[in-house]
Symmetry: none
Subunit: 210 residues, 4 copies
DNA sequence: GATGAATGAGTATTCATTCAT
DNA sequence: CATGAATGAATACTCATTCAT
């Protein structure tokens, strides 16, 4: 049979990952059967094994894709002109706009990361990326005199990451949480800590955003 | 064997809960077999079923006990003289002193709470307790003039909870995180937001916020 | 502790047998647990084992009691003045008046008799008794000139037993069967075969039942 | 392995049903393990579940197949030229020729029919078929003047069914019963009740019974 | 490459039975 | 004698994985 093109292969993988994500978020890794995933992806039971060596590998694949997306978003933040604004947009995207199952999946993955080395690697890798991106962003903004944080970036970055973790977790498991209100409150707190942009810079900002 | 006293019954349950907690934290709910738990508790395979109707019920039992402990800690905070200090002590206890498996377990429980209604109930219940305790604490401190938060308690409490969630999650899954440093940074940020404290500092505050 | 009197002991056994009968008829031997039986008898789980060595022994005990009752009924038939009448009364008692669970139990026991030697013994024993009683009854009635069967007693008795078996089984498993109609039809057929009571007795019967 | 043809699928089911029948008749439904059945059918432990949803479903499958066979036999009787002869042949087939385990199984199924709705349905369905076939047969024979029953078909049919039930049960659980003798006696009784035969034979029979 | 039937190890749960009190 | 907690062997059923077609 004709070998599938790379594009087709990638499409097959994506389709299985999508199906698996849905199923895993719905029932958890262990309560989800390979048969369910195959059904959701509308392929046969054996088909998944052409693209993933095992269920574990499928989980790892999901972690890798999910975390890669995450890392990319934070690298974008590092380049954004207004840090707080970019951070808020990113938070809103992940916590409000993305479908809920993505967040549930993240908690599942977090739990799994303590046992599945491949998943743990994905988490470590994205953590490093996020940390570095945030550091870079903060340092640039400080250097530019746009913020004056109440603590040095090296201490502030872990705090930002904890805030993100908490926002994610809370939103994933507490259906009563109001994400917009939470983001607003967190950003307000954050602006306190990042420090009001010094008075002398206001003009600049005022110029850009009248 | 005549009926066990209530104390003895409770002891049997505790022993099983302890064993289950260990095993669950080690391998996750689904990869842990009832046989393992029984072995860890040094009882027979069937013994668990004398005290818990099912594995699910055992998980729910763990959630209930864990969350109850948590709620109690926060009720204590509400009565403490110095809010920030009490909060910090509580954080340090849960995030530094308690054995690591309790934290891993909490992530596991969080993931499970989206599927197991009994676990979800435990989470909702402790959330309510924590929220109310924090509200009470903040309002008392504000009334006493010991803090002057940058935002009303009703907005601050969710922020505090998200901070706690994040601290917990980060500490549970990131072995590289330095909990003491994190707590210190978070408390510093918090003190910024809670506003400068005691009377001897009031003049300063009065100066800043007339 | 004071040894129970024989009467008390017998009462305990009867109570357990009654409970077991109910449970067994309701769910079958194997789906019934010793715990259910104990609960139904309002004794503890271990109590049954004071009076019966095992579940199997309990089943055998039920078979023995049930079949003994049956054998006694047929011995009475052998002594009755009017054979057909006595037979009909016996059929009506077992098939109409006795509680339905006794019949369901009998089917259960019949199935079990192919596997449980003690139960099989009970069945063989009652079969012998019934056969002999019927033989005796038929021969006496023939000798007395009250019946003139279309076939010799040695051939008729097995037929009667098959009729009884069928009546019992049908009534046990077919809720739509009308037992009174069935008995009437069977008796009518039987009277055909038993032969009309000789002419000289007709007046007597006619006198009794005008 | 691509999808099996319908024939192959049916063959797989038949093989499992055969194995299950043997095992069930040998040890009863509940004492038979799915592993035993699989071994008897020379397939793996999980294979049964590809074709039957559960043990219960397997039992129901046996009941359906067994009863279907039974119903077909009786429909054939309805078409036979000589009713009594056909009935006798059918009885002989089921009670003498078929392997003993089929009869033991029927008692087992009868007991189960009071608890397993699918089995009960099979019994009800075959009962209806048998009843209708017998009715049709009797009415045709009566109309043709070949029999003159001592009671109307509507009363005779239930009697015939009870006779069949009894014959089956007796033969299933009483190893001492002589099936040929039983059938002969029952048929003799039956011929009494069905009444004198065709006109052209009347002289002979009339000679015997003036 | 795709299919889905087949495998068989693995597991939660049940339950007859025991026995310390 | 009675209790009911404890035992541990037994079993229906599941499911990741394989592989013949």
């Amino acid at each position: 049979m004709p070998r599938l093109s790379d594009d087709q292969q990638a499409a097959r993988r994506e389709r299985l990952l999508d199906a698996a994500e849905l199923c895993f978020a719905r029932s958890g890794f262990h309560a989800t059967t390979m048969a369910e995933i195959a059904r959701e992806a509308r392929v046969s039971a054996g088909a998944a094994y052409v693209w993933f060596a095992s269920k574990e590998d499928l989980i790892a694949g999901i972690a890798a894709r999910d975390r890669a997306r995450f890392a990319a978003d934070f690298e974008a933040i590092a380049e954004a002109p207004d840090f707080a604004e970019a951070l808020e947009a990113c938070a809103r995207f992940h916590v409000v706009e993305r479908p809920a199952h993505k967040r549930r999946l993240m908690v599942e993955l977090a739990a799994e990361s303590t046992r599945n080395e491949a998943v743990a690697r994905s988490f470590r890798s994205v953590d490093r990326t996020v940390r570095e991106s945030l550091m870079r962003a903060l340092e640039r903004q400080v250097a530019a005199g746009r913020i004056a944080p109440a603590m040095p970036p090296a201490r502030l970055v872990p705090v930002l990451m904890v805030l993100g973790d908490g926002l994610f977790l809370r939103r994933a498991i507490d259906p009563a949480a109001d994400p917009e209100a939470l983001i607003a409150s967190l950003m307000e707190m954050l602006r306190h800590v990042l420090g009001p942009a010094p008075a002398r810079k206001r003009r600049k900002r005022g110029a850009r955003r009248p």
